[in-house]
Symmetry: C2
Subunit: 244 residues, 2 copies
């Protein structure tokens, strides 16, 4: 029980439960609890919406009440959009998942309650929770749907749990070229540009330095130096070949 | 142009465009650009899915190509799920929005490309971008739908732009009670418990301190001290009244 448990209270549409399962699976969560799903359970419509995350649906546990669904947990968040007049700590999703991570790390069970599609959680249900999660949304357009709310919380969880690991980090497959290769490249460029009188005499030092700045900023790899050097040579020699 | 611009490349379903508009509006974004929507534009299906965010749809600008859609911008991110063999910087959504925020702050125009529902962006389209955004997802369940991808990026934007402001922050409407009120409360509890021989003689000092720890942890407000004090008095006096 080292990851947060997602608890849906009286979810109505099977499709939403499926999308919740998918959102959880996107971010490495798999423990789902359902309190009195409105239209029964299991429900066919959930599986297609779950888009491959059927293991989450199949492992979903059913409960009659919120109280029973949270009985074995040590700390419970309730997601609410509106202030409920309760003296509870209110967390944004990221700090909430940090709190969850600390507690899970010590062996506590942590759950997050999400309410009904239309009406959210009842005040009595919120009062069974230890703390509130609310989302930083534009007050003029504040409603998130159920799967989106679960998505955002699950996303914040996964970022923390994986230390922000990405599927790939692209970029530098090779290190920047050794300085001598780069300096030699500068010599080559400058010689070719000199040969075509590119530099006005008085501006040559400045323009030379500016161009070196451009290439320095590239942090060219060895391959890139070779590519650019080859392109410049092709341009220069193409020109020389075309001379009458 | 002080917020990132969302650019959808050949989006197919009107409903998805609507949900993108809604996701943007949730998080304070409103500039949408559409490159060759597959089924034409405007499209009716978008409006109902936009769920109130029609201003985003109505302000959406149309373009024939990605090149034209990004022409006036200074920095463009391309969202991709797979590595594209290009030596570009790869950002997670949060660092990307930090980069965006810095650039927007200096007056640069920043756009984010999102690809087709089924096939994403083409490599040539990615090559028109300055950097890549990819999402930290579980590789076993890595696909996010278009509106969810826009949601996550927009969410990270809004958190940064608002400094993490929440619609409400609940909690402490009143400060903790003054120490004298709390100490007086301890005196009262301890007297009542003493009167019913709650404390075994040898354990009294430890139990007293432990109970004070419990109440200290509450950081009770004045109202809470009054409430608890009243409850204890009711229990004690109810007992006294019940004495034969």
């Amino acid at each position: 029980m080292n990851r947060p448990i997602i608890i849906l209270v009286e979810p109505q549409l099977a499709e939403n439960i499926g999308m919740v399962a998918r959102a959880m699976a996107n971010f490495g969560l798999s423990e789902l609890r359902l309190v009195s799903p409105r239209n029964g359970w299991p429900k066919k419509g959930a599986h297609s919406a779950a888009s491959g995350a059927t293991h989450v649906l199949e492992g979903a546990k059913l409960y009659d009440t919120v109280r029973e669904a949270i009985a074995d947990l040590n700390f419970v968040f309730a997601t609410t959009a509106r202030e409920r007049g309760q003296m509870k700590r209110v967390f944004a999703p990221e700090p909430a998942m940090k709190e969850a991570q600390q507690r899970l790390g010590t062996g506590q069970g942590v759950g997050i309650l999400f309410g009904r599609e239309r009406t959210g959680l009842e005040n009595d249900e919120v009062s069974l929770a230890d703390a509130i999660i609310t989302f930083p949304v534009d007050p003029k357009f504040s409603s998130l749907n159920l799967a989106q709310a679960v998505l955002l919380v699950s996303y914040e969880w996964y970022k923390l749990a994986t230390g922000g690991a990405l599927p790939f980090d692209g970029g530098r497959q090779s290190p920047p070229a050794p300085r001598e290769m780069v300096t030699s490249f500068f010599d080559y460029i400058e010689a070719e540009l000199d040969a075509v009188n590119f530099y006005p005499e008085d501006k040559k030092p400045t323009m030379t330095r500016n161009m070196r700045d451009i290439f320095h900023r590239l942090e060219m790899t060895e391959q890139e130096v070779r590519t650019l050097r080859g392109a410049i040579r092709a341009l220069a020699e193409g020109r020389r070949l075309r001379k009458p």
